[in-house]
């Protein structure tokens, strides 16, 4: 009998071209996504070495990181920052010169690279997917091995359609139970990271399984896998099932007709075998989980909304204690503070973590008929043109506008503040993004990571709200 294999082992095994050294392999890459920020130097490298793109049809390009979220109908001319504009122009030129498909800024399909991949059916199970962006882990929700790479590796994939990789280890996170109303997969992943830490996943691929995962929609699974990187993991992974297949059926890049049948036949085998061994395993029951909010400058600094901000003195580890003291100082908070007393000035709903239609639906549903607090500027940035269009057709846009939210064009926006959407120094933001690092959303800006429902509710009240207890 064959040794039982994990889902990761199966996908990995089917992509090994050769073993290049002890535990190091040449891996075939099926899908490659490129954007304006991490690709120019890669194309420059190809040109300098007189190399060609090996398989242009396996790469898809879009501009998302530095683009403004207003005046999109002006296309590239909406970018007033000359250096940013040159970067997008360089992307367009590089893709065109190399016959790579590009989704232009004015296309209804444009959006954040990790949102458009699945939307277009470019992301499919059983494949290897890479992109010069750490949140490539998002695509693992479809049972694909998807991970972020640097620019040198982008160049390597363009030139060879392969990567040399050390084989990661297997980690499993089992999540069981039924979530309370208004508690989301964002709250789950913040809880998980607060327990295992931001380095726990280093060198591992995390497979998420358990009853909660089976119950989740594809959007919820994407949020979960998206933040695997915040636990340090190479990738997040969820076994594909009928929900996955239903989501993909008929999408532009998804396999068609006979190929669809062949694909389904293979995809159904993409499960971890009974008895397969994981190097590390964690288990959570989320029945009693409360909405989570981060209070510090690392994604692991999360607590339930009803908990108090921890006291650094309770940590014996000196490095840990100092890091928490530094965080609290930066965030302008002190031990014992209650999250519910903290007032906010900005709210950001969007990003590759929480910029999908379900996120906007949940947030809009919760705040319908209410007004944003006069102290708060609140932004909704749909993850893609298709999400935006869908939200407009469902009346979600009107709910947000009537409440006083700004309704923007798609892009990464305030998640990393490369475009004009940024926090001013000292401003506090309830953000549905993925990183609360110092200065991430703007120098001196203070980021609290939350779910879209918590973000929307907090925009109305002007401070953090427990969405499982209070109605607005």
């Amino acid at each position: 009998m064959n040794t039982p294999k994990t889902l990761f082992d199966k996908i990995w095994g089917d992509h090994v071209i050769s073993q290049t050294n002890k535990n190091q392999y040449l891996l075939y890459i099926d899908r490659h996504l490129v954007h304006e920020v991490t690709s120019p130097q890669a194309f420059e490298g190809l040109k300098l070495n007189k190399r060609k793109v090996r398989k242009p049809e396996l790469t898809l390009g879009v501009a998302d990181h530095n683009v403004p979220t207003t005046l999109r109908d002006q296309g590239i001319n909406s970018i007033k920052d000359k250096i940013a504009k040159l970067q997008v122009e360089t992307l367009e030129k590089n893709l065109s010169e190399n016959n790579i498909k590009y989704i232009p800024l004015t296309s209804k399909n444009q959006g954040i690279v990790h949102i458009i991949g699945p939307e277009q059916g470019f992301t499919i199970p059983g494949t290897t997917i890479v992109c010069g962006d750490s949140h490539t882990s998002t695509h693992g929700a479809f049972g694909s091995l998807a991970f972020g790479i640097g620019t040198s590796e982008v160049e390597h994939v363009l030139a060879t359609q392969t990567l040399v990789q050390t084989k990661p280890k297997n980690m499993r996170i089992i999540i069981n139970g039924k979530l309370k109303k208004n508690v989301t997969s964002k709250d789950i992943i913040l809880k998980v990271i607060s327990e295992i830490g931001t380095a726990a996943g280093t060198g591992h691929v995390i497979e998420f399984s358990g009853s909660t995962i089976l119950d989740m929609t594809m959007e919820e699974r994407m949020t979960l896998c998206n933040m695997s990187i915040e636990a340090g993991a190479k990738a997040g992974l969820i076994a594909p099932d009928n929900k996955t297949f239903d989501y993909l059926y008929g999408l532009p890049f998804a396999p068609k007709e006979k190929n669809w049948e062949l694909a389904i036949e293979y995809w159904k085998k993409l499960v971890t075998d009974k008895g397969a061994i994981f190097d590390q395993e964690f288990s959570f029951n989320i029945e009693e989980l409360k909405p989570f909010v981060t209070w510090g400058t690392s994604p692991e600094n999360g607590i339930a909304i009803n908990e108090k901000i921890p006291d650094p003195k309770q940590y014996n580890n000196l490095e840990k204690r100092q890091s928490i003291e530094k965080s609290l100082n930066y965030m302008g908070l002190k031990a014992g503070d209650s999250l519910k007393d903290i007032s906010i000035q900005k709210v950001f709903i969007g990003s590759c973590t929480n910029g999908r239609i379900e996120d906007l639906r949940a947030a809009a549903n919760y705040i319908q008929g209410k007004k944003v607090s006069h102290n708060v500027q609140a932004l909704v940035v749909p993850g893609s043109g298709l999400v935006k269009k869908q939200a407009e057709s469902e009346g979600i846009k009107e709910i947000f506008l009537e409440a006083g939210f700004e309704w923007r064009d798609p892009g990464c926006s305030m998640c990393l503040g490369m475009n004009p959407d940024q926090l001013a120094s000292g401003e506090r933001c309830a953000s549905t993004s993925n990183r609360n690092f110092e200065g991430r959303q703007g120098r001196g800006g203070r980021t609290h990571l939350v779910s879209p429902i918590t973000a929307a509710a907090s925009a109305i009240k002007g401070f953090f709200v427990d969405v499982t207890e209070e109605s607005l």
């Binding site: 120019p40 190399r51 640097g150 062949l262 840990k320």
Partner: protein
């Protein structure tokens, strides 16, 4: 890629844990289409108060550490974003080696591909080296013999033999892979592994 054999220099101690790539090189500098020129903005938020006015308390603004070629860092150095601008900025500043208890995966890969040597040591060794670095002692990092020498102290380190080979010779990864081009072609023709449904066929416009 620049070759790395032996490095002599001063080491700056940055003991914070989880120093992320946003801190190493903030987003506003990622708009460049070049690899060079990022050193000036390395650790921008901590290094400067406003514009390019130096924060005198920051280690890389103090002599002799403003000429550091080595950083001794807290654990999980380089976590966060995949930006290769982080190792580019470090190298452009003059940092050629980082010593820590642990590094984030993507940052590790990006660094070795650019000739930046990352050395993992245990906490006691890091403590010892940090004390010597604070005393402004000169460090010698010998990659060939896998040894760090400072004054009368010697610490041996482990390094993946493939990475060592690549750094010493300054090999180009793509060139190595393309030597095995036929293996890639064979893989694409191997029907049991390369599934036909994966092919992307553009519909006629």
């Amino acid at each position: 890629m620049k070759k790395f054999t032996i490095l002599k220099g001063i080491a700056a101690v940055m003991p914070d844990i989880n120093i992320d790539t946003d801190a190493i090189i903030p987003k506003q500098f990622l708009k460049t289409i070049h690899r060079k020129g990022l050193g000036k903005s390395l650790f921008y938020n901590e290094r400067y108060t406003e514009g390019y006015n130096k924060n005198v308390d920051f280690i890389l603004n103090k002599d002799p550490w403003s000429n550091s070629s080595i950083i001794i860092a807290g654990e999980n150095f380089g976590c966060g974003s995949s930006r290769e601008h982080a190792p580019w900025a470090l190298l452009d500043f003059g940092i050629q080696c980082i010593i820590s208890n642990s590094f984030a995966d993507i940052f590790f890969n990006n660094s070795v591909k650019n000739g930046l040597l990352l050395i993992k040591l245990n906490k006691n060794e890091i403590q010892k080296l940090s004390e010597l670095a604070m005393k402004k002692e000169s460090f010698t990092v010998d990659l060939i013999n896998q040894k760090i020498s400072v004054k009368n102290n010697e610490i041996n380190f482990n390094v993946d033999p493939i990475i060592k080979d690549r750094l010493i010779h300054g090999y180009d990864d793509i060139e190595i892979t393309l030597k095995n081009k036929q293996l890639i072609v064979d893989y694409e023709n191997n029907k049991s592994k390369f599934h036909i449904w994966k092919n992307i066929v553009y519909e006629k416009q």
